[in-house]
Each structure stands twice: as structure tokens, then as C-alpha cells.
């Protein structure tokens, strides 16, 4: 086989070594650093992205925990708000009722006072008219003039008698 012919071994060995060294130097100096650098840069970028993602994930977890915590406290808060609202409503109702009762009392009192005044006025009118009637009646019966003072006195006595009679009946 031609490959075992040692004639060309020295040149083949020499040029193999030289070519290999040249390739080693060229690759080592210009090609491989470029590949290694870009791989390193990409790895770094990916690691940074992963770190950021982990941080974001951590934040999300914290928010989720916080939210779950708030959610669990929400029932208590709602109950408190409901109780407070109920209390406010009851207080307001009682206040309104108090006001209404006071108003009613005042109106009742006013009504009684007005009634009393009207009654007094009616009594006074009746007395006056009754006195006039009695005077006229007495003058016709007695055929003499009775002055106002006498008529008034007679009326007072009559009324006093009536009141006595009515109190006896009662």
C-alpha cells in the first residue's frame, strides 16, 4: 500500500504538525474566543432572566399569600361592618322614635291647652248669654229692672248651685 511508503513520511509529518499548530493558533486566537464569548453572554443573559423570573415569581407568591390572608380576614371584617351598621340603624331608629314621641307629647299638650282655652271661652260665652237671658227673664217675671251687677251675682249663685248639684250626682 502506498501509505506504508516511508519516502514521504518526513514531509507528511512535518506539514501535519505545522498545519495542526496553525489551526490550533488560529482557532484559539480568533474563532473560539468569539464562540465562547457569545455562549457566555447568552448563558449570562439566560441566568439573569431566570433570576428575574424567580424574583417576580417570589413577588407573585407574596402577593398571593397576602391576598389569601386578606380573603380569610374578609369574613370577619364583613361581620364587623354588618354589626356596626346594625347598631347604627338601631340607634337611629331609637333616636327617631324618641323625637317622634316628644313631638307627639308636645302636640298632645298643645291640644289639651287649646281645648282648655276653648272650653273656658265657651263657658264664658255661655255665662254671658245665660246672664242676659236670665236678666231678661227676671225682668219679665219681676217687672223691674235688674242691673248687670245683680244679674251677674244671681248667675254666679245659680252656677254654683248647679255645680253643687252635679257634684252630688257624681
Amino acid at each position: 500500500m502506498p501509505q506504508f511508503d516511508t519516502t514521504f513520511f518526513s514531509s507528511q509529518i512535518f506539514w501535519t504538525i505545522i498545519s495542526f499548530i496553525v489551526l490550533f493558533v488560529v482557532l484559539g486566537r480568533w474563532i473560539l474566543p468569539r464562540i465562547a464569548a457569545i455562549l457566555q453572554e447568552r448563558t449570562q443573559l439566560i441566568e439573569e432572566e431566570i433570576a428575574q423570573t424567580r424574583k417576580k415569581q417570589q413577588e407573585i407568591d407574596e402577593i398571593k399569600l397576602d391576598y389569601a390572608d386578606k380573603l380569610s380576614n374578609l369574613d370577619d371584617e364583613a361581620k364587623k361592618m354588618f354589626d356596626a351598621s346594625e347598631k347604627r340603624i338601631i340607634e337611629r331608629r331609637e333616636q327617631l322614635m324618641g323625637e317622634w314621641k316628644a313631638e307627639m307629647e308636645r302636640k298632645k299638650r298643645d291640644f289639651h291647652e287649646e281645648t282648655e282655652i276653648a272650653r273656658q271661652m265657651a263657658i264664658r260665652d255661655i255665662r254671658n248669654q245665660s246672664a242676659d237671658l236670665i236678666v231678661e227673664a227676671a225682668e219679665k217675671v219681676l217687672h223691674r229692672h235688674i242691673d248687670d251687677h245683680q244679674a251677674q251675682q244671681a248667675l254666679e249663685e245659680a252656677i254654683a248651685d248647679m255645680e253643687k248639684d252635679s257634684s252630688k250626682k257624681i
Partner: protein, 241 residues
């Protein structure tokens, strides 16, 4: 048969002598240069402007680098990183020499025993030097592994020594033989195709195409094997025995 071997014949293009040394430029030299240029130019074009998001060429170069780097780190335990440039050079050198031979009419430098032998002996000497550097005279402990009964040593030491010395021979022969056999097979199939009657020519020529496709795969596999074994030898040199 001689026709099949003609493909491997060294042709001197330019006589060059340095004293007693014959440094002539032959077809081996030219195609080695071609392979080196092919590797450098291809890789340079692939990573001329490296981007964070790689294009197809850059991706291929990164994959190749990543593959060699991973294999180196896997096989040279703990110290693989600093041998990546060496292993990548071996891989691309052999791959370039293997692939350039697949161009029709081209010469395959790795089908030359002197070329594969130089690479194999080079790695062997490097690993041996490394072992001496690391372990001093402890180098010889590797030939008498711990725990072996003394009575077995006269048998073990020659076997280990033979196994050690056989490393460059097997490394060189494996690559040389694979490349030679592959190209011979292609030649024989091609010659058969040419010699066959016209209606049968498709059969051997079809096989030639398949064989060329296989040779493409073999070119990668052989470069890979050479790198793996080189890593193993270096790892063995670095390891304590």
C-alpha cells in the same frame, strides 16, 4: 486492486529539502492546507458577527463547539475546560481532512498513516509528558495497579506496558484504516458501476451514493472517536493511580 490504491498515492508537487529532511509539498500537504483553510473559513464565516440570537451558521458552529466542549468536560474530569481548544482543534482538523477527501477527485489526508500517526503519537507524547509532569516517577505506578498481588506483577506490568504503548498505534490505525477502507469501497463500487452493463449500472452506482453518505457519517464518527480517546488518555494521565 492497484487502481483502488492509486487514490492513496502521494504525489509531490514541489520538491523542498531542509538539509537531510524532505519537506516537499505533496498532495497530502495541499489537502491538509485545504482542510485547515476549509475549517478556518467556514468557522470564521459562521461566527463573523456573532449575535445573541444566532443564525443557522452561528448555531451550527456553537453546536459543534458545545458538543466538543461537553465531551471534553465529560471525559477529562475536573480539568476538561482548559483542554477544549486542543480537542476542538483535533476534532475539526480530522473532520476537515476526512470531509475534503469526499470531494470527487480530492485526496484524503487522513488516509495516510503518517498523518494519523503524527496526530496519534502527538497526543500520546503529550499525555505521557503530562503524566510525568503530574506524577513524576509515580508515572510507573500506572503499570502496577494497587491491590494486584505481587505474584501477578510479572504478568501485569508487561500487559499494562504493552497496552500503554499500543495506544498511539491503535489510535492511528483506526482512523487510517477507516478512511482507507471507506474510500476503497467507494472506488470499488464506482468501478463496478462503470464496468457493469448499462441496465445494471444503477445498482453499484446507487450503492456508491449510499457509501458516500455513510462516509460523511464516518467522517464525524472517526473525528469524535479520536477526540474521545485523546480525552481518555489525558484524563488517565491526570488521574491518580
Amino acid at each position: 486492486m492497484s487502481g483502488a490504491l492509486e487514490h492513496f498515492r502521494v504525489v509531490v508537487y514541489h520538491e523542498l529539502h531542509l538539509g537531510p529532511l524532505d519537506l516537499s509539498i505533496s498532495n497530502t500537504t495541499v489537502f491538509i492546507w485545504g482542510a485547515v483553510a476549509l475549517v478556518v473559513l467556514t468557522l470564521h464565516l459562521m461566527v463573523v458577527k456573532p449575535k445573541l440570537v444566532p443564525g443557522p451558521g452561528q448555531l451550527l458552529a456553537e453546536m459543534l463547539y458545545g458538543f466538543v466542549a461537553r465531551q471534553t468536560e465529560l471525559n477529562i474530569h475536573g480539568e476538561g475546560e482548559k483542554y477544549i481548544p486542543l480537542m476542538f482543534t483535533i476534532f475539526t482538523f480530522i473532520l476537515g481532512c476526512n470531509l475534503i477527501g469526499l470531494i470527487p477527485g480530492a485526496f484524503t489526508p487522513t488516509s495516510q498513516l503518517a498523518v494519523t500517526g503524527t496526530l496519534a503519537v502527538g497526543i500520546f507524547l503529550y499525555a505521557t509528558g503530562l503524566r510525568f509532569y503530574r506524577h513524576g516517577w509515580g508515572f510507573f505506578h500506572a503499570f502496577a495497579p494497587r491491590g494486584v498481588p505481587r505474584i501477578m506483577l510479572p504478568l501485569m506490568v508487561p500487559i499494562e506496558l504493552l497496552s500503554f504503548l499500543a495506544r498511539p498505534v491503535t489510535l492511528a490505525l483506526r482512523l487510517f484504516a477507516n478512511m482507507t477502507a471507506g474510500h476503497m469501497a467507494i472506488f470499488v463500487l464506482g468501478a463496478l458501476g462503470m464496468a457493469a452493463p448499462w441496465f445494471l449500472q444503477w445498482l453499484p452506482l446507487g450503492f456508491t451514493v449510499i457509501q458516500i453518505a455513510m462516509e460523511l457519517v464516518i467522517a464525524f464518527i472517526q473525528a469524535y472517536i479520536f477526540v474521545i480517546l485523546s480525552c481518555v488518555y489525558i484524563d488517565d494521565a491526570l488521574a491518580d493511580h
